[in-house]
């Protein structure tokens, strides 16, 4: 803390993850390593205990990089990432298991050859926390917490539905009682009703467990729903960061307005709609990605037409 810029640890900072003027560029490697253009430029962001920050923006705007920086997966090129006022790189060992991530596709974090229970217990097993029985009990408790029956621990991931798998992934992230969780497009691949369950689960769990959360998504409606405040990214920079109420009203930045416009909110009327004419609207933007065609039974079918 000799440079005097890093904030001193204060009581307010308990459980807070802070990005302090962080920039990031991918290095090219090699002797004359040139840095690429900044993927993230001068971003400052704080996620306090019990709070969810939503991060929206188009693909390639640097959302996922922010997540990786906040988790300490990538060190920033400039600036600092701090947890409770201390830079991450100075407390790597202490932070093990206290930061977790939930990804878009649960199959990315669940080993298909391991029983669900084993996967959920894995962060504990790796950290050699508790005895076998203790871990076993904990897995049961967590599955229950995410609304799954304890018996599911004996199943393999492919025996579960997409929504159940995502719950398992969440249980796995929660088992170390983390201080901070990054949800990276965690509900984007889910169907509307499963998405609703998962979003509610995240909200409920956060109220109970009090972790800080960074919710990354390109789905404005989902972000607005779970977040306390929303940061809008564009080309590596945060162009607007406001409490979520602003996004239920009218946000400042033109791009934020475009995002909010993509959610057609109830009661509003759309003048000059692309279809021409004016009509009353009532509805929403459930905006989640369908799985690639390859996953459906009708998929890939056409090869046989050859």
């Amino acid at each position: 803390m000799s440079d005097g810029r890093a904030p001193r640890p204060v009581a307010d900072d308990a459980g807070t993850v802070r990005l302090d003027s962080v920039s990031f560029a991918y290095g090219r490697g090699g002797l004359f390593a040139r840095r690429g253009a900044d993927v993230v430029r001068d971003v400052s962001l704080a996620v306090a205990k019990g709070e969810t920050i939503g991060l929206v923006g188009e693909s390639g705007s640097g959302k996922t990089t922010i997540g990786r920086l906040a988790l300490g997966v990538n060190p920033p090129t400039r600036g600092q990432v701090l947890f409770e006022g201390v830079p991450l790189e100075r407390q790597r060992r202490q932070l093990r298991g206290r930061f977790q991530v939930v990804l878009q596709h649960p199959e990315w974090s669940l080993n298909p050859r391991l029983r669900v229970g084993t996967s959920v217990a894995e962060p504990l097993t790796v950290g050699k926390v508790g005895t076998r029985t203790e871990r076993h009990e904990k897995v049961g408790a967590l599955l229950e917490l995410v609304g799954l029956h304890e018996s599911l621990a004996q199943r393999y991931p492919h025996e579960l539905s997409g929504g159940q798998q995502q719950r398992v992934a969440i249980a796995r992230a929660l088992i170390t009682q983390p201080d901070f969780i990054v949800f990276d497009e965690a509900v984007s691949a889910l169907d509307v009703s499963v998405q609703a369950q998962t979003l509610n689960l995240i909200k409920t769990l956060q109220e109970a467990e009090g972790f800080a959360a960074l919710f990354i998504s390109h789905d404005m409606a989902a972000v607005r729903y779970v977040s306390d405040s929303v940061a809008v990214m564009m080309a590596g920079e945060i162009v607007e960061s406001s409490p979520v109420q602003t996004f239920y009203g009218s946000p400042n930045h033109p791009y934020s307005r475009l995002l909010v416009d993509s959610i057609v909110s109830s009661g509003e009327s759309l003048t000059g709609s692309p279809r021409g004419g004016t009509h009353a609207t009532a509805a929403l933007g459930a905006d989640q990605e369908k799985r690639p065609l390859g996953d459906t039974p009708e998929a890939g079918a056409a090869r046989h037409h050859l």
Partner: protein
């Protein structure tokens, strides 16, 4: 989005970079062979003069060939000569090794090209038929069994069988009656076909198997579904989309196969009595003609590196994604 670089420029750069690293590899290989050969029991003098030579005669020879110099000095001299195209003189025939290589190279090259052509003539249709047959079990298992068989039969076994069959019969193809291509093309073809076929069997199996998997993967790609949806016919889809996309993995194994031909040529030329580089190197090995072996290994390494560079360039041509990634990186 990457702006398109001039493809000629980027390919030139790739070749340049690869050639440079290839040259370094070649240098390394030359050190290894040199050391290995000097560590093997039995010295030059023994080979040339025989076991009963007098110590004086040996010493004289050593001075003549510079064999009493320290190893690094010997290597330096040899390298200097090799750089000027002088690969030394055969210890047995006293003829310059390079001349012999140059004279025999066309024969081996012809053999290799024939083997490649045969491998493609049989391998590609097999790959297409079995790849497009897709789920049909007979086709699937058929190609698998034939492929496994073809890949696991050693070429010397196959060569022995063919030599046995064709040397005792009067079926068009001949064994051991080599005639240069320039003098009698028909006799040349009759003599070269069987060795080329022997070499190609492994390639046929390799190309058929890899090609089948590639074709299967490509037929499941969304762009093929899109082509079906656009009303393209079966043949249009094969011609426009499947061949080129499936060629990419096949190219990789073709490079492997070309490397295999390099080694296989030694055995096959010997068994069929084809006067190519392979036979020359084989004779060199059996008569401990170190200069020949040394030059042969170096040549093989150089060809292998060249094949790899060529493959890399072809990759860039076939798969634009690789080309532009390279140009950027």
């Amino acid at each position: 989005m990457a702006p398109r670089l001039s493809s000629v420029g980027s390919i030139g750069m790739v070749i340049g970079r690869r050639a440079l690293s290839g040259f370094v590899t070649l240098l390394g290989v030359s050190v290894l062979i040199f050391v290995a050969i000097h560590l093997t029991p039995g010295s030059y003098e023994q080979v040339v003069l025989g076991p009963r030579a007098t110590p004086e005669a040996r010493a004289q020879l050593a001075v003549q060939y510079g064999l009493d110099d320290p190893l690094p000095v010997q290597y330096g001299k040899w390298l200097g000569q090799a750089a000027q195209g002088d690969l030394g003189i055969s210890l047995i025939t006293q003829a310059p090794v390079l001349d012999e290589f140059v004279r025999r190279m066309p024969v081996t090259l012809e053999l290799a090209i024939m083997a490649l052509v045969i491998a493609f003539i049989f391998g590609v249709p097999l790959a297409l038929v079995s790849g497009l047959a897709g789920g049909r079990r007979a086709a699937r298992h058929g190609t698998r069994v034939v492929g496994a068989l073809a890949m696991s039969v050693p070429d010397f076994v196959l060569a022995c069988i063919l030599v046995y069959l064709f040397s005792r019969s009067q079926w068009f193809f001949t064994v051991g009656d080599f005639a240069p291509l320039g003098e009698d093309p028909v006799a040349n073809f009759r003599a070269m076909f069987l060795p080329a076929l022997t070499l190609s069997v492994f390639g046929i199996a390799l190309i058929a198997r890899t090609g089948r998997d590639a074709v299967q993967a490509v037929t499941q790609a969304l762009y093929v579904t899109a082509a079906v949806a656009a009303g393209e016919s079966r043949w249009q889809i094969i011609r426009r989309h499947i061949l080129r996309n499936a060629a990419i993995p096949v190219l990789t194994v073709t490079a492997t196969f070309a490397g295999y031909i390099l080694g296989g040529a030694v055995i096959v030329e010997t068994l069929y009595g084809i006067p190519g580089v392979g036979l020359y190197v084989f004779n060199g090995i059996s008569s401990r003609d170190y200069t020949v072996v040394q030059a042969g290994v170096l040549l093989a390494a150089a060809i292998f590196i060249a094949i790899n560079i060529l493959t890399d360039v072809l990759y860039g041509v076939l798969d634009p994604r690789i080309g532009s990634r390279r140009a950027r990186g």
